[in-house]
Structure formats: structure tokens, C-alpha cells
């Protein structure tokens, strides 16, 4: 486990203690413990639940990226369906 600092909106801010503690003093960061070996792009902090969230938890980096591709493609399909529905409605 390692220390990571997140912004007040839950995005990764810094793993560096000197920088993170300084941000904390200024009210600009939240300190949390994160699992080892996880790339920062997969980390976020749930402000309401006060808990670290790991995207594609349980997967390695390659697996997480594959999951991201799958999720992105699914979202693109949803977006296209929404667009088609909007277009059909506007032409009805």
C-alpha cells in the first residue's frame, strides 16, 4: 500500500509527499492509501464514500486497458443510439 494525494474533486494529484502535504495544508488535496502497482489513471477518490476507487479492479494494466476499450465502445454505441433516436424524433 502507498500514499497518494487526490484533488478535492477526486482526481489523482500527486504521489510526492512534499507536494501533497503542502497541498493538504492549503486545503487543496485529500490523502489516501492506494494499492501498490496500480497506474494512476486507474485511481480516483470517491468524495462521498471517502474511499479510493480502482478502475477495473483485479486486472493488470493490459486488462484494464482492454476493459477501457470495451467500455468506450459500449458508450459509443449508446451515444449513437441516442443520436439516431434524437434524429428520428426530430424528423417525425
Amino acid at each position: 500500500m502507498a500514499i497518494y494525494y487526490f484533488t478535492n474533486s477526486g482526481e489523482p494529484a500527486t504521489p510526492i509527499e512534499e507536494t501533497g502535504e503542502d497541498l493538504m495544508k492549503k486545503g487543496l488535496a485529500i490523502k489516501a492509501t492506494v494499492p501498490d502497482g496500480i497506474e494512476a489513471w486507474r485511481l480516483s477518490y470517491d468524495i462521498a464514500a471517502k474511499a479510493v476507487v480502482v478502475y477495473a479492479e483485479g486486472q493488470d494494466e493490459a486488462g484494464a486497458i482492454a476493459q477501457k476499450v470495451t467500455d468506450g465502445a459500449a458508450q459509443a454505441v449508446k451515444d449513437k443510439e441516442k443520436q439516431d433516436a434524437d434524429t428520428a424524433a426530430s424528423e417525425a
Binding site: E11, P12, A13, L28, A40, W41, K68, K80, D86, T87
Partner: protein, 490 residues
């Protein structure tokens, strides 16, 4: 009378290179670009100052493609696809037809990597057929980093490689306009690969870094040339070197994972910042390059401000010049020329931002800038007087187009005090709050990191349903808006 006054030296003239505060383009379209493709131009106050393609919307033809003679991204008859729906999850260099939204697109130079766009809507996508042999893809990293007066972007492009300065004309492979081998002016030739060059027009100072190779060699020879003629005004490069007032150099040992990442930022106070991407992180240090009058005898260490600083924000796997020349570290400046930015992506190939921003009055004053998006990016462009914005192309269906905007105080150049960054939010109430708090943050010099915040622009994306707006840099907007008080210019 004013003209006569100018002729006789009694008045002031405006530099013909000077532009009003920055404009940017915003491309919006429905999925395939069949029925709607829009291009709007906005000023730094996010006011629409042009919608040159208004008539192409809802035509169900490829009228837009025909009007612009666009063979690259037109509807149906195109070489590289017809839409810009890309989230940058896994897109590598071979997906270059999607790179128009990458943060590599825009730096301080007026031309962009993958297209050129005018204020009047003349967007010309580069033909991508030979993109891997284009100037920007292969040797864009040889461009000089320029520190220029307010409102001026580099209008001449000098490139420096080995012992040769060449003048070129943008992202093409046409012949150089000029070439000069300056080796006879060098005081030390231990290292013969120029890997970075910066120029300050106010002080007429040219600083160049040579190494033993363009890869990861750490040996460095730094030459400091002070001229009596402005490089941007000479007819031939040779004239600058023939009119040097002083030349000094120092030796040092600095390493990045690839020397093509180095950026050299020559400050107005003769301190010079050197920095660039190094693996997933980044390094920066400022050196005293004022005239010492003793030839080489001062070492790099004696000129250094404190020690090298690693990027202080969040990092993840991201690519730089070690992964391909086209991923070289970029440099840009604010419109007023008081702050600069050495930047590269946060995530893999082109999303998010990891940057050092430094005062161009005093490069010892610097902080890290961070935005950790891992999909749906956009380039960053100069915004307002002393800021930048960009980085977001999320779907605008049901929401305002968002951007990451931040700005500095142009008078804030004291490296012994914290740096103030002004930021916005997703709410007007939070941006102009019912209290006396500063909105943004203050950051400790050198070790501070500013995570920039997402802001609503209150602009629609260009289509009422699914739409991923693309931000475009504009190659020339001239004096637009400078006489309009609502524009916010000086």
C-alpha cells in the same frame, strides 16, 4: 498625422506580427458528418465571432467537403474517415487520422501538426499519406523555442540540428530558405548534436544545447550567444552570428530518456529554463546565463538555481520522444508572453497534461500543471491575456462544452513567493463566490503542483445530440478585437 509622426520617429508603430487576444475554432458534427458539420470561431471571451460554414448544416450532402476542397475528412469521399469521434484510449501513431484532437496538435507556432485553420473557416487537413515523413513528425523538435513580445507568435521558423541553423516555412518538406553552419562561432565542440535551442527576442539571446547524440547521452555543452541584431529581423542567419556581442558556454551532465525532448526557455532576466519529458515524468531546472565575461570557466552547477526538479503531479504511462520523434515535448506561451509552458500528455499518446509553467520574466519561478484525463482530450491553446485552455471533448449532448482553463498573474515573477493560478469551475456561483476567497490556488515554487479544474463554457458543442467538439488552433487572427472594449484587451 500619426503616419507622419511615425515616419519622423515621433510616434509608435505596431509590430505587424502582433495579434489581438487568442481566438480558437470549435468543430462540431453529428456522428458521420453527413447532415451537420459546424465550425465556429470564438474569442477569448467565448463569444462567437464567426460561423463560416453555417450554410453547410442540414444539407445531407458533402457540401462542406466540396466547399473546402477537403479530400481528407469529407463525407463519403475522403481518404481518412469522416468523423472525429475518438476517445484516445489506445490510439497509437498508426491512428494518426485521429490525432487532430491530440495535445500534440498545438504549440507556440501558428501552424498545427495535423491541420491548418484560418479564422475564416479555411480548415485544411494535412494529407496524412506521408505523415510519418512530414516535418513535424520527424524533426519538429528542432524548432527554436521563442520568447517574444506581447501578442506575437513566431512568424519565422528556425530549426537547429548539429551545427546548422536553417529557416523553413512550416509543416512541409520544401527546401530551406536559409542555412548557416555556425560552428566557427562555437567555443567548444566536444558535443556536436544540437538537441534544443531557445531565443529571447527582447534580449537578443540565443541559447543552444549540444549533446553527443540525439538519444539519451547526458553530456551537454550549452552556448549562450548574445547578439546586437534580432534574429527575427535579419535577412540571413549569418547576420545574427556576425554581430554577436558576447559568447559563453558551460559544460554539464543532464539526462533525459531522449534528448529530442529538451525545451530551452530563455527568460527576460537571462535565467534560462531547461526541461522536458523523461519517461513518465518530466524534469526542469533554471540556469543563470547572464554574461559572466570569463569564457567557459563557470560550471553548470555554479549557474544552477537549486537543483533539478521532477514533475510534481500525478504521472502514468505516457509517451515521449523516446517512443517516436513526433511525441517530442512541446512549448507554448501565453498571449502576453509573460508565462511559458513545457508540456506533454498525461496519458499514453495524447490526453491530459503534464507541464511545467514558468515565468518568462524569471524562469526560476515555476510550478507543475496537471490534468489527469485518460480519454476524450483536445489540444491546449493560449487563452486570454495570460492563460491557456483546452483538453476536453466529452459528449456535449445534454451538457455545456467543457474546457480546462487556467491563467496566471502577468506581474507574478518573484520566485520566492507562491505562484497564484486563477481557475474556473462548473458553476458561476463557485467562480464568483459570495466570499473573499481566491478561486484557484497558490502553489509553492518549484515543488508545487496545480491540478487544473474543468470549467463550463456555456457553449453547445455544435450539434443538439451526440457531439464531441474538436478544438482547433488558428494560424492568424490579426488585430481582431483589439479595438473592441468588450474583448478585454489592453
Amino acid at each position: 498625422m500619426s503616419n507622419l509622426s511615425n515616419i519622423f520617429g515621433g510616434g509608435t508603430t505596431t509590430d505587424p506580427r502582433k495579434e489581438g487576444m487568442p481566438l480558437f475554432g470549435l468543430w462540431g458534427e453529428e456522428g458521420g458528418g453527413n447532415t451537420v458539420s459546424t465550425y465556429r470561431v470564438f474569442d477569448s471571451g467565448f463569444k462567437n465571432v464567426g460561423s463560416p460554414w453555417a450554410t453547410t448544416s442540414t444539407t445531407t450532402t458533402n457540401y462542406r467537403g466540396g466547399m473546402l476542397a477537403d479530400a481528407s475528412f469529407a463525407y463519403t469521399k475522403n481518404d481518412h474517415g469522416q468523423d472525429f469521434n475518438v476517445d484516445f484510449t489506445t490510439q497509437t501513431y498508426s491512428s494518426y487520422n485521429h490525432y487532430c484532437k491530440s495535445m500534440y496538435q498545438i504549440d507556440q507556432y501558428p501552424h498545427c501538426f495535423y491541420y491548418s485553420a484560418s479564422r475564416d473557416g479555411m480548415v485544411s487537413w494535412q494529407s496524412l499519406h506521408q505523415i510519418t515523413s512530414s516535418f513535424e513528425y520527424t524533426v519538429g523538435w528542432t524548432k527554436l523555442n521563442m520568447v517574444l513580445p506581447e501578442g506575437i507568435r513566431p512568424r519565422r521558423m528556425f530549426c537547429n540540428r548539429r551545427y546548422s541553423m536553417r529557416e523553413k516555412t512550416g509543416n512541409n518538406s520544401l527546401g530551406s530558405i536559409d542555412h548557416y553552419d555556425y560552428s566557427s562561432h562555437m567555443l567548444n565542440t566536444d558535443n556536436d548534436y544540437c538537441v534544443s535551442t531557445g531565443y529571447n527576442e527582447k534580449t537578443k539571446t540565443l541559447v543552444m544545447v549540444h549533446s553527443a547524440n540525439e538519444g539519451d547521452n547526458s553530456a551537454k555543452t550549452v552556448h549562450i550567444f548574445k547578439g546586437s541584431k534580432d534574429l527575427n529581423l535579419v535577412g540571413k542567419i549569418k547576420e545574427f552570428f556576425d554581430n554577436l556581442e558576447s559568447t559563453e558556454y558551460f559544460l554539464d551532465s543532464w539526462s533525459l530518456d531522449n534528448n529530442k525532448n529538451w525545451c530551452t526557455v530563455v527568460g527576460n532576466n537571462d535565467w534560462v529554463g531547461f526541461g522536458g519529458k523523461n519517461g513518465n515524468t518530466k524534469k526542469y531546472c533554471a540556469f543563470d546565463c547572464s554574461v559572466k565575461g570569463v569564457g567557459q570557466s563557470l560550471t553548470g552547477a555554479s549557474r544552477r538555481y537549486l537543483d533539478w526538479q521532477n514533475f510534481a503531479g500525478s504521472v502514468t504511462t505516457s509517451y515521449g520522444a523516446a517512443n517516436g520523434n513526433q511525441y517530442y515535448t512541446r512549448f507554448n506561451t501565453t498571449w502576453d508572453g509573460t508565462w511559458g509552458m513545457i508540456f506533454s500528455p498525461y496519458y499514453y499518446y495524447g490526453v491530459g497534461i503534464n507541464a511545467f509553467c514558468m515565468s518568462l520574466e524569471n524562469p526560476r519561478k515555476f510550478i507543475s500543471i496537471n490534468q489527469t484525463k485518460s480519454s476524450r482530450g483536445n489540444p491546449y491553446t493560449a487563452w486570454g491575456r495570460t492563460g491557456f485552455h483546452g483538453g476536453d471533448d466529452d459528449n456535449t449532448d445534454g451538457t455545456s462544452w467543457q474546457t480546462y482553463g487556467f491563467s496566471f498573474d502577468p506581474t507574478d515573477s518573484d520566485h520566492t513567493v507562491d505562484t497564484t493560478v486563477f481557475m474556473g469551475s462548473t458553476s458561476g456561483e463557485a467562480t464568483v463566490p459570495d466570499n473573499n476567497s481566491h478561486v484557484g490556488g497558490t502553489y509553492t515554487n518549484k515543488t508545487g503542483n496545480c491540478s487544473i479544474s474543468q470549467c463550463y463554457t456555456q457553449l453547445h458543442g455544435g450539434y443538439y445530440s451526440t457531439c464531441y467538439p474538436m478544438l482547433l488552433g488558428i494560424n492568424w487572427w490579426g488585430a481582431y478585437g483589439s479595438a473592441d472594449s468588450s474583448y478585454g484587451g489592453k
